[in-house]
Structures are given as C-alpha cells and as structure tokens.
Amino acid sequence: MAGQLINDFKNGLWQENPIFRLVIGMCPTLAVTNTTENGLAMGIATLFVLLSSEIVISTIKKLIPSNVRIPSYILIIATFVTFVDYFLKAFFPSIAASLSLFVPLIVVNCLILGRQEAFASKNPVHRSIADALGMGLGFTWALTLLGAIREFLGMGSIFGLQILGAWYKPMIIMVLPAGAFISLGILVGIMNIISREG
C-alpha cells in the first residue's frame, strides 16, 4: 500500500513527467518560463491548484453525474485558481505582476483537467494526493529548469542574480517564445536519451 503511494508519487516526477513525457500543460510551459523565478512560481501555483482540486474531486466523485463531470471539474478548478490569483496579488504582488494573466489561465491548463479525468475521478483520496504531489512537483521542477536555462542564456542570470559578466551578449531569442520551443525540444531529447540508457 505504501509502495503503491510511492509509485503514484514518483510517476509524475520522471516516468510520466507532465512536461517531458506527457507533453501537456504547454501553454504556461512556453509562456512563463523566461525566468527561473517565474517558472518556479507558476509550478507552485499549479501544484497547489492540482492538489486541492484532486482532493475535492476524488472525495466527491461519486456525487457528480458523469454527463456533467467536465463542467463540474472546471468549476472546482476555477475556484482554486481564483483563490491563488487573489492570494498572490495580496501577499506576493511582485510575483503576481510578473505572472499576470497566466495565473487565471491555470484553469485551462490541461495537466490539471487531465489528472482529474485520468486519476482523481477513478482513485481514492490518498492516492490522488500522491499523484497530485508527484505531478505538481514534476511540473514545478521541469518549469524551473526550463526557466533557469532560458534566463541563463537569455539574460546571463539565474533567479535574478547576474552570473555572467558584461562580456556576455545575451541570446535574446531565449527569452522569447521561440527560445522556449528550442530549449524544451532539446530537454525532451536529453530526457529520452537518459531514460533509454537507464
């Protein structure tokens, strides 16, 4: 039983990593990973929404008629997303300003709806929590890594700390959407090589 929970948790971290393996939730992945901080903040916000909505949905799954399950899930997800939006604006105004409209867009992140449909609606609460934590952390580390690479190459800094000196001419393309596609593609390739050898 404990082993199953650990497997549910580890699943999202690597084997079925939402970004590198399932390739879902691409909208925030490509849009907000231009800095490390933005990637991390978006990851944590998504983790929170994923965890809370998986808990609620796996708890009340039997009460929701299957015909309206998708609108019900979206309503529940939207409630938590709005909560995160207000919360960030109230307590982390600088992060809220840099993520701006991508916070409300977590509602339509297909990672969240996908996990409700694929996991929370079929499994008990404790397994859903393990799944949400694994998927959420898997999403978070992937976004943070992507953000770090793009910020490093595009601005010469990581977490806003200037690492490369003035001699470094920033690759502006890396902070633009095209840079997200390029770094994501290369990272997915590297992950494939690692898993094949492992």
Binding site: T35, P65, I76
Partner: protein
C-alpha cells in the same frame, strides 16, 4: 430523463453556489491587502517621480487627477499624473513627474504593463527610465544608439516598439499636464 436532467442541473448549481460563497470569503479576506499594495505602490511612485516632495495631495482638474508635491517650505515642487496607453501587448500604466518651473520631466515610474518579460518589460529598469530624467517638455525621438540630443530617447535593444509606446504615453502626459496647468508654473 426528467430526473436525470434535474440531477445535472442541481449538481452544477450546488457546485457553483459553494464556490461562489468560498470565493466571496477569499475576496473579502484579500481585498484590503491588495488595495494596500496598490496604494503603497502609487505612493512610492509619487515620491519617485517627485523626489523633492515631502508630501503630496491629490487634485482634480478638468476631470483628471494630478498629484501635487510640496516640499517642507510648502511650495509646490512638481506635479505628477498617472497615464495609460497602449503598449506592445496590453496597456502600459505609468506615472510622470514634472517640474513646471523648469519645464522639464523629473522622471517616470512604470506602474503596470504586460510587455514581453526580458525585453519590453525592461521599460521598468532604471537604465531606460533615466532616458526621461530632466528632459525638457516637447516631442521626443526614439533612437537605437547613444542619444546625441536631449530630445532623443534610447530604445531598449529588441524592444523598440515598447520604447516608442512609452515615449508616446509620456508625451501625452506632458500635454495633459500643460493643458491643466496652463503651461506655466
């Protein structure tokens, strides 16, 4: 069929009501903090663009709101106003502070924007904002190299449009201030 349909309606209605109630509480809880941040940001911006001011007061003229800054001797050192205009993506909201007696800009402060992070978003950085420091009133020209003329504004590399939009918004603000204050001190 009838039973089933009503079941669907009831489910969605209940979920909708519950989430609306929860969000009403969240809204009540967070709104004072959000307003405090906004007020603080605005206050900080006024003192940034009117560095000589000790205190300021809001004045409404011609239906527009201005912030008049006063020094310790109670004489008016400058006027600031918030203006909004289109940027490269979305609107840019910024505050311009001017010295009416010298007919020049003190400096500007960006309050809100949706420009591209790492490019257009650099309009918030000092290096770009300093373009407007102590600039005489008038029309500005955006250039892509080191400015040679006081009326020139150096564009951020890779974000010429954002740089130009900010310049237009600033020009617009100066016009409004000059209109309201008759161009003179």
């Amino acid at each position: 069929m009838n039973n089933k349909t009503s079941g669907l309606i009831i489910t969605l209605t209940v979920i909708g009501i519950v989430s609306a109630i929860l969000l009403a509480f969240v809204y009540q809880w967070t709104t004072p903090y959000i307003e405090k941040h906004q007020a603080k940001a605005q206050e900080a911006a006024v003192f940034t663009v009117l560095p000589e001011a000790e205190r300021y007061q809001e004045v409404t003229k011609d239906g527009m709101t201005f912030f008049e800054g006063y020094d310790s001797a109670n004489s008016r050192v400058g006027v600031a106003m918030v203006v909004t205009g289109g940027g490269f993506q979305g609107n840019i909201e910024l505050m311009v502070g001017v010295d009416l007696s010298k007919q020049q800009i003190n400096t500007i402060s960006i309050l809100n924007h949706q420009e591209t992070p790492g490019l257009g978003a650099r309009i918030t950085e000092k290096a770009y904002r300093n373009n407007f420091a102590n600039k005489p009133f008038g029309e500005y020209q955006v250039v892509k190299r080191e400015p040679t003329d006081p009326m020139q504004v150096e564009a951020i590399s890779g974000a010429t449009i954002s740089s130009e939009k900010v310049t237009i918004i600033v020009e617009n603000a100066i016009q409004k201030i000059q209109q309201a204050y008759g161009g003179g001190a």
